[in-house]
């Protein structure tokens, strides 16, 4: 792939403005991408501190540190902050930085709206976090906010929680619209759809999912708001409504949402593995179709979260088989990643370490998902730590490792410096060991029946929980090392070449490192 780059255009015009206002008023995709990434990292640390509180309480059986009411607020806020504040914004940040560079576009399609999407996030999360300090406490009904816990029995702060979700949703929808318009409209000449890097493809599909399901979530919280303040009875059977209906609507959003959090990671890993295997990706086309198939199926599996609440037998069967069907395209992907590595000249720099761990550990999460997908078995597993183990295996070494892999892969492009490889490998191994220690034992206590979202537990779960907590503290502490590595890399380090990775491909490596403030003001020609 060769490209003509225009350096002269890059630095005529306007460079970055000075001072704080550069960030507040910017329309530049790189500035906005950086803000998204920093915001996401701040939320990751905040949500992480909450996880530390949870694990500290669960270190031993009995109640030691916090009151059950506060424990509930911690599990709720941890989930909400990690999903909407850490994982999603991180991927939008990566999209902002990298999609224009990957497709040879001068910026995002709608740059001002791009900044609007970002600045809604501090508003949304400021509001969400403020609920913790309100009278009656913050949201305490779990990140899934099932009615009537979140309506009839909720603290008054739920009103502000609802509006925080609205703001975050508006931000996501605008972000997704921007990404779709950029990908469909701003590709350089010659960059046909089937030449797009996989991160671009997976984001195109993710953006579609976002636009399709975030409004449904908005609808769900709006109905809650009406039930709480305006006397409607959507989720109250006394007026002819149905609390189970809340779960249907929530999971119609919720299941595609989990793919929203993983598809972009599929994309980056599909670019990083070929780079360090020094081989083209095995089965590019099948990757694209598998992503499409996963997204399509993700609309028809939501009730696998509701096997125990009472749905008709036909429903149980349909959702069971539909869920298992998703394992097929997912399997295609895993097969392709492994085949890409097969007989490649592998090297294991930090991005590759995180990617390989991704493939192995995400697959474990996929398998536990398959176990949960069997309706009769789920009657036993549901609402136990087994579910917690499952989704942490898909989200931590899945989504989060995908983000770390991408961060290390593109840090040289962003900062112009190489990060410290020894420290980065330490970060990887500590994270890897920490998260396995934290989450693997959860499978066992879950199968033995330990319920989730409870601050106390039976003595027989004590040992495994102590191991989990130690692993969690290790994982948590290690993330401060990541912060240090990033700051160190921004401040200095060996100069990075335009293409620091020998096997890397793509337009982003044709511009200098660090990438100039404006790139591709005239589109490159892609052959």
């Amino acid at each position: 792939m060769s490209a003509v780059i225009d350096h002269h255009h890059a630095d005529h015009g306007h460079g970055p403005a000075k001072g704080l206002m550069r960030w507040v008023l910017t329309t530049n995709h790189k500035d906005i991408g950086s803000m998204y990434l920093w915001f996401s990292f701040a939320m990751f640390l905040l949500g992480g501190s909450m996880a530390m509180i949870i694990r500290a309480e669960l270190f031993q059986p009995g109640l030691q540190l916090v009151q059950p009411e506060f424990f509930n607020q911690m599990t709720t806020s941890h989930g909400l902050i990690m999903v909407f504040g850490a994982v999603m914004p991180a991927f939008v940040g990566l999209a902002n930085w990298m999609i224009p560079l990957m497709i040879g576009a001068p910026d995002m399609a709608l740059p001002r709206m791009n900044n609007f999407s970002f600045w809604l996030l501090p508003a949304a999360f400021g509001l969400l976090i403020s609920t913790l300090f309100m009278e009656g406490g913050g949201p305490n009904f779990g990140w899934t906010f099932y009615a009537p816990l979140s309506t009839t029995y909720a603290p008054p702060s739920v009103t502000f929680f609802i509006f925080a979700i609205h703001l975050a949703g508006i931000s996501s929808i605008m972000g997704a619209i921007n990404i779709i318009a950029t990908i469909l409209n701003l590709r350089a000449p010659g960059m046909t759809l089937m030449k797009m890097p996989l991160f671009v493809w997976t984001w195109l599909i993710t953006a579609f999912l976002l636009i399709a399901v975030m409004p449904v979530l908005a609808g769900a919280v709006t109905m809650m708001l009406m039930d709480i303040h305006f006397g409607t009875s959507f989720f109250n059977a006394a007026g002819g409504g149905d609390p189970v209906m809340f779960q249907h609507i929530f999971w119609f959003f919720g299941h595609p949402e989990v793919y929203i959090m993983i598809l972009p990671a599929f994309g980056t890993v599909s670019m990083i593995i070929p780079a360090f295997a020094r081989k083209p990706l095995f089965g590019y086309t099948s990757m694209v179709y598998a992503t499409g198939a996963i997204a399509f199926l993700s609309f028809a599996v939501w009730a696998h979260h509701m096997f125990t609440v009472g749905i008709p037998l036909t429903g149980e069967l349909f959702f069971m088989y539909a869920t298992m069907l998703i394992a097929v395209p997912t399997g295609v992907k895993v097969f392709n990643w492994v085949s890409t590595m097969f007989r490649g000249s592998l090297t294991f720099e930090a991005p590759m370490l995180f990617s390989v761990a991704f493939v192995i550990l995400f697959t474990i999460g996929g398998f536990s998902g398959l176990m949960l997908a069997m309706a009769p078995a789920d009657f036993q597993y549901h609402d136990t730590y087994f579910v917690v183990a499952h989704f942490h295996y898909v989200l931590v070494p899945g989504a989060i490792f995908g983000i770390f892999a991408s961060a290390y892969y593109w840090l040289p492009k962003w900062t112009g410096h190489m990060y410290d490889e020894v420290l980065a490998k330490t970060h990887f191994w500590m994270s890897f060991i920490g998260m396995n220690l934290a989450f693997f034992p959860m499978h066992f206590v879950g199968l033995a029946g330990m319920p989730r979202r409870i601050p106390d537990y039976n003595m027989m779960f004590a040992n495994f929980n102590m191991v989990s907590s130690i692993g969690a503290f290790m994982f948590g502490a290690t993330q401060l090392l990541f912060l240090y590595i990033v700051i160190k890399c921004i401040r200095g380090g060996p100069k990075a070449a335009a293409k620091p990775w020998e096997g890397a491909e793509g337009l982003e490596w044709t511009v200098p490192s660090p990438a100039p403030y404006h790139t591709f003001t005239t589109p490159p020609e892609v052959k």
């Binding site: 925080a164 636009i211 009406m226 006397g231 059977a237």
Partner: protein, 299 residues
């Protein structure tokens, strides 16, 4: 500042702008005010602070909208936008409308779920008929006049007949979709007077629709006992028609602004995306109404 080299066609990347941050502060203030207002209302407090915060938020948003759209209009009239830029706007508007469709789907989904599944179960029929044990006398019919627990949720005495105001409103909205299309044809044929008149007619029809809708609501509240808290029929009825009405109100505002711009001489036969976006939006509220008319009023 934004003077890019114009020797070749470049994509217009706007300079720094204050509107996004103003908008996000505006939205935050608005929702904070709305939340405070609602919490006070439900706690039976007579503090009015929420209303004032809400008002402040709405004013900030109005300021942002006005400033932001003025920027866009000016840039467009200065010819800074290319055909490619135009496509971005079209895609943006198209996907925005799709997101609105999905928003309404949530409420339509709730309606269908209650009517087809949850309601019959609650009356003891079908697969999950054991819910019928909760209120053994409960009978499920639609429209639902007798709720499972009438002491908590007294049902409406009657519902609105589709063949009076709603039918008239259907005719009005469909006509307005046609008139806005005529206006578009007039614009493309550079017939300014016809354009203005057709557009004016559209705005008038929209206003009539809204007035009739308000009359219908008053009738429902005052005479029929059909209210938000009259059980699931009232809840779905007001949620669907209410959000639709809100969208019609927004659409009317947008069309009015477009009308004012037309009268100021904006838009040319081949460059008028602002007009088209408004028309798309208008067709969208029209289609939603047809769905409402069928599923909320008639069936």
């Amino acid at each position: 500042m934004a003077s890019h080299d114009t020797s070749h066609e470049t994509y217009y990347v706007p300079p720094q702008s204050k509107w996004p941050i103003v908008g996000s502060i505006g939205l935050l203030v608005t929702v904070f005010g709305a939340g405070t207002m609602m919490n006070n209302m439900s706690a039976d407090s007579d503090s009015s602070i929420g209303y004032w915060i809400l008002l402040a938020g709405i004013l900030i948003i109005a300021y942002m909208m006005f400033g932001w759209f003025s920027n866009v209009v000016n840039e467009s009239r200065q010819g800074l936008y290319s055909a490619q830029m135009d496509r971005s706007f079209r895609m943006g508007m198209g996907w925005f409308i799709f997101s609105e469709v999905m928003f309404f789907s949530a409420f339509f989904g709730a309606l269908f779920y209650v009517r087809m599944l949850a309601g019959p179960w609650l009356a003891g029929e079908g697969h999950k008929g054991e819910s019928g044990l909760l209120w053994p006398e409960f009978q499920f019919v639609w429209p639902l006049l007798q709720n499972p627990d009438p002491a908590v949720y007294p049902g409406p005495t009657e519902t609105i007949s589709p063949w009076q105001l709603p039918l008239i409103n259907t005719v009005i909205l469909i006509t307005s979709s046609i008139t806005v299309t005529f206006a578009h044809h007039a614009l493309r044929a550079a017939k300014r007077t016809a354009l203005t008149l057709w557009l004016l007619l559209t705005v008038i029809l929209a206003a009539v629709f809204l007035t009739l809708q308000i009359m219908e609501y008053m009738h429902a509240y005052n005479d029929l006992g059909l209210t938000l808290d009259s059980g699931i029929y009232g809840a779905t009825f007001f949620m669907l028609t209410g959000f639709h009405g809100f969208h019609v109100a927004m659409g009317t505002l947008i069309l009015t602004i477009i009308l004012l711009r037309v009268m100021k001489g904006h838009f040319t036969p081949d460059n008028h995306f602002g007009f088209e976006a408004a028309a798309w939006y208008w067709h969208f509220v029209d289609v939603v109404w047809v769905g409402l008319f069928i599923f909320v009023y008639v069936l």
